[in-house]
Amino acid sequence: MSLTGTHHAFVGLHEDGLNVAVEAFRAARPWLFSYGHPMLGGGAPPAPTTEIDAITMPSVGVSFPYRIDIPKLTIDCYPEQPNSGLPPELQPLHDDEFDIHADVVLTTLCPGKIQDGKVVKDWTPITAALALWLLGSPGAQAVGGTQKRLRLSSRAVEIVDILPAGLEDTLECFMRVVLDQAVLPRLTFVLDKISTDFFSLVLADGPRVSKDQIIALGDVL
């Protein structure tokens, strides 16, 4: 079956390759997958954990050091892998969609003893493991001429097994709004035609999801 269809050029990134790329990022820049207060290993690169501030509470003189690790992050492009574990709330995975599954480990230090309102001793670590799922799809929007703005959009997020359900829905709502309003709009860039000394390549179709790949089609000018 023709890869290029009615166009001149085709590029396909298979989900297995994307997952290798994710792990290559983890090997080179582990601090992108780990965030923590200095009491929990956080520091400036090349420390393997990006430093973050503790959580402060109103009217409380004590802040709560915490750490977020993402030990596993996988991408699955449509069609869904058998036994992928995609939560029922997100099924089925639609055509032109991918899911991102992240195991997140949240560690918070809880003060066991507070003296004089601020001095704390006997921190107790509390750890929670969460499974986060995100449904997304790639896209491109014509900007003008041969320029296109590449972007990602999200249909839903899911945090598995938080009770009561209302709390889970609240957290998911919070995450979805942050993604839509703050994160994804920044993950865009304008792609113009790719020019070499010998030929130019312009994006004609995609990027989109097809057969476990993210594909793009182009024309040679």
Binding site: M1, V11, G17, A21, A24
Partner: protein, 272 residues
């Protein structure tokens, strides 16, 4: 198992890429030595292009190189003959004053000639393919071009096309100005010169290609030469400030031509 990365170009896209690369070889040169001057200009004119899946062959037929050569010689006679001036003659005329003839000097001219040779058309037909090999010691992938000498045809001077070009340059335009049949006549002559005279060469090429294809000679006879090397450790995101580069290891790299007439390059990657 699907490859991690696949890039493909259809026949038209591959033709445009190959044409772009080869057309960049067009150029010109000029110079002088003593009183002699010369200039060369060469231009690649694409012929036919085909992707053949059997043997993964990229087939170029009758790609022309048009070469224009001119040379000349010039010499300033003043270099050997002295310039001279006719002396002025003056007379005194009553009531008018002194009247002189104008000063006339002879500056010897520069002589010479320039010869523009008719456009020489050379023709190349070639079957080649791409082969990827792993150089374990160097930690690199080696991309090689394979040329089948059995189907290689280089005509330094393609008489048919040269005659056709000469006709177009010298007579074609004038003939097309003849009302009525002029353009038809010019096209007919041009076609006869370009095809009929080339028939024997075309027939020879056809037979060589048919024999090579039917016997599968391309992979057996081809001579390889190195085109490019790619490091196994491939940097796909450059270092930025304190952020180190992100690398992957290319564990498989392959090139093939499919039955859909597409040139497909595929690769597998791993974490280094």
């Amino acid at each position: 198992m699907a490859r991690h990365l696949i890039a493909a170009a259809d026949e038209e896209g591959a033709e445009r890429i190959v044409t772009g690369v080869l057309s960049a070889l067009s150029g010109s040169d000029s110079g002088s030595f003593l009183d002699f001057t010369y200039s060369f200009a060469w231009e690649l004119v694409p012929g036919s292009f085909e992707l053949v899946d059997a043997g993964d062959i990229i087939r170029l037929r009758e790609w022309d190189i048009h070469t224009d050569i001119s040379f000349g010689w010039s010499f300033d006679l003043s270099n050997i003959l002295p310039d001279f001036c006719i002396p002025r003659a003056c007379v005194k005329i009553p009531f008018v004053g002194k009247v002189c003839t104008p000063r006339v000097c002879v500056d010897w001219p520069t002589i010479g000639f320039t010869i523009n040779l008719p456009t020489i058309v050379s023709e190349v037909s070639i079957d080649f393919s791409l082969k990827v090999e792993r150089d374990v010691a160097a930690g690199q992938w080696v991309i090689k071009g394979l040329v089948n000498p059995f189907t290689l045809d280089i005509d330094i001077v393609d008489l048919a096309d040269t005659a056709k070009q000469l006709f177009e340059d010298k007579l074609g335009a004038a003939m097309r100005d003849i009302p009525g049949i002029g353009s038809y006549l010019a096209d007919a002559i041009s076609r006869i010169l370009g095809t009929v005279l080339d028939a024997i060469d075309d027939l020879f090429e056809f037979l060589m290609t048919a024999i090579s294809d039917s016997l599968g000679l391309h992979p057996t006879l081809s001579i390889g030469f190195e085109l490019h090397r790619v490091d196994e450790i491939f940097e796909f995101l450059a270092a930025s400030g304190a952020e180190p580069a992100v690398n992957v290891r290319i564990t498989a790299l392959d090139s093939q031509i499919t039955s859909d007439k597409e040139l497909v390059v595929s690769a597998d990657i791993a974490v280094p």
